[in-house]
């Protein structure tokens, strides 16, 4: 150490004023409001946060690596476990990407089934948000009411696919046509079961009631408003800078919805609105999701009327070899843009699969948004961002 540095040091030591050092509060990885295993290292003084560092990776399951040693059909079973509250919605962009690489297109009925199930998944994901967000604010009753109503949606998904959370229903070139490949007997077609449309419409009526319940319990509640209005405001340009998407972006006033932009499923034949709010605060992020449940109900009602008859799967070879090439395929998931970058070198397995998961991008704003907030606001903001740790860490 040079003398100059030494001198500098001693000067610093002398000129240091007495001050209370902040406290480092380690929120998580086991903490009730981190939705799993997110860890936040917060420097606080009092309850005010000065600096925050999110630490992720506690739930890393290595999906990208796993996918490199699995066939495309096996990956379909894996990807619906990434964001587990909207399992079906995760399959869609992946399968669309593979279809693009192979060069097949799903028959129309399959497309419509995908659309209906995606919207059902969206409703169920938003209902989970309606559980967790008030819970973070301390209200435990919306949780139970929304879980009760979500059951109707999950029953519909199970009715068609056989799985409540992990449908594994998409196949390259359509949806799963049948159980078992036997040619002799017992071929069980996986087309929509009888009475599905009737049950769906009934469930949609129930969802209208649910939306009213949400409004009564949460939206209209003055305490919720006091806790969330003006808390965690994300301006539109910041939201775009940090790569946010989905309801979180639309709450900031950016009407960007891949369902309108990309036209990937027959969304263009349906009349629906993109729900936007301008405030960008926690309450607006919540309201956008309530609005999206209503829009999804509208979409499903129309889709049930339109859906044509026809085959479930286009002709694809039994052993699927995907030609060389690469593709980025994305879709509007309940939480935002969900994308897969698939690199194929020909063969049964992808060479590389990059997952652009929504929650990860949405969470990246945390160090910016949480600085200067109070700890009670931290949970309100994190609740309003609606992330799933499986989606963050993959």
């Amino acid at each position: 150490m040079t003398s100059r540095q030494l001198m500098h040091r001693s000067e610093v030591a002398v000129s240091v004023e007495l001050e209370t050092p902040g406290m480092t509060l380690n929120i998580g990885p086991q903490h009730p409001s981190t939705h799993g295993v997110l860890r936040l290292v917060a420097k606080i003084s009092g309850e005010r946060i000065h600096e925050i560092e999110p630490v992720i990776g506690y739930m890393h399951r290595g999906y990208e690596k796993l996918s490199e040693v699995r066939t495309y059909a096996q990956i379909t079973a894996l990807v619906n476990r990434i964001d587990w509250v909207a399992g079906f919605a995760n399959e869609v962009p992946f399968i669309l990407g593979v279809e693009k690489l192979v060069g097949v297109e799903a028959p129309e009925r399959a497309q419509w089934i995908r659309l209906i199930l995606t919207e059902l998944a969206r409703i169920s994901s938003h209902l989970v948000f309606m559980c967790s967000f008030p819970l973070e604010l301390g209200a435990s009753t919306p949780l139970m009411h929304m879980l009760r109503d979500r059951e109707h949606i999950l029953e519909l998904i199970e009715d068609v696919t056989g799985g409540r959370f992990h449908p594994n229903f998409n196949r390259v070139g359509g949806v799963k046509p049948a159980y078992g490949g036997g040619s002799k007997t017992k071929k069980q077609s996986m087309d929509l079961p009888a009475g599905f449309f009737k049950r769906t419409l009934k469930a949609m009526d129930l969802m209208d009631q649910t939306c009213e319940d949400i409004d009564t319990l949460v939206t209209g509640n003055e305490l919720v408003r006091a806790r969330t209005i003006g808390i965690g405001v994300i301006p539109a340009e910041k939201a775009i800078e940090y790569g946010m998407s989905g309801p979180n972006l639309r709450a900031s006033g950016v009407a960007y919805d891949l369902r309108k932009v990309d036209n990937y499923l027959p969304y263009d034949q349906i009349d629906f609105d993109v729900v936007t709010r301008t405030g960008g605060d926690s309450f607006d992020r919540y309201l956008v999701r309530v609005g999206e449940i209503r829009e999804s109900v509208k979409i499903i009602r129309q889709a049930v009327d339109i859906i044509p008859a026809g085959p479930l799967q286009a002709k694809v070879p039994r052993v699927l070899k995907v030609p060389e090439g690469q593709v980025y395929s994305r879709a509007e998931n309940p939480k935002g843009e969900f994308g897969y970058y698939i690199v194929s070198e020909g063969g049964k397995m992808p060479y590389r699969l990059k997952i652009r998961s929504t929650s990860f991008s949405n969470l990246s704003i945390l160090p910016w948004i949480l600085v200067g907030q109070l700890i009670p606001d931290l949970v309100a903001i994190m609740g309003s961002l609606d992330f799933v740790l499986g989606d963050v860490d993959r």
Binding site: D159, K176, G182, P193
Partner: protein
């Protein structure tokens, strides 16, 4: 309440009215051990095996994403059906185990089976105190076959 008077904090009291209404209504609960919930016919509860149909082709074991199916078999020579005909070999199934501790219920094995030997049953009551007991062997898988329901009628 008349519209003229503005009641303070209407939202709070509307919420309380809703919770009270919920309280006096019957709770939508299935009293599980006494009353069993009946899953839909397509529910993926447990995989059953029709050992007669199995030809030990190993497709299911190969396609399983987490390799939880264990199959062993051997070949025997079968007498020709006609005198002077070719001697054919037949595969005999020795072992067919599914480890439900590993299985992730994706259903790929059922889908790929070319001889209709595997079926989904919606049965769900097979939890065990020891994880090793979750390894269902050929007999156990065969017993589930009785619980396989008829496929549901389709929406026309």
């Amino acid at each position: 309440m008349s519209k003229g008077i503005k009641f303070p904090f209407p939202g709070l009291f509307k919420g309380m009215a809703l919770t009270f209404k919920t309280m006096v209504k019957k709770a939508p609960v299935t009293m599980y051990p006494d009353v069993k919930e009946i899953p839909v016919p397509r529910a993926r509860g447990v995989i059953s095996l029709d050992a007669e149909a199995c030809t030990v082709c190993m497709l299911c074991a190969r396609e399983c994403p987490d390799w939880c199916i264990y199959i062993e078999g051997h070949k025997v020579e079968k007498a020709p059906s006609k005198p002077g005909g070719r001697v054919r070999t037949e595969s005999i199934l020795d072992r067919f185990d599914i480890d439900y501790g590993l299985c992730m219920y994706c259903g790929i094995c059922v889908d790929v089976c070319p001889f209709d030997a595997l079926f989904w049953s919606p049965e769900y009551e097979y939890s065990e105190m020891k994880i090793s007991n979750l390894l269902h062997n050929q007999e156990r898988l065969g017993e589930w076959l009785k619980t396989v329901p008829e496929p549901p009628a389709l929406e026309s």
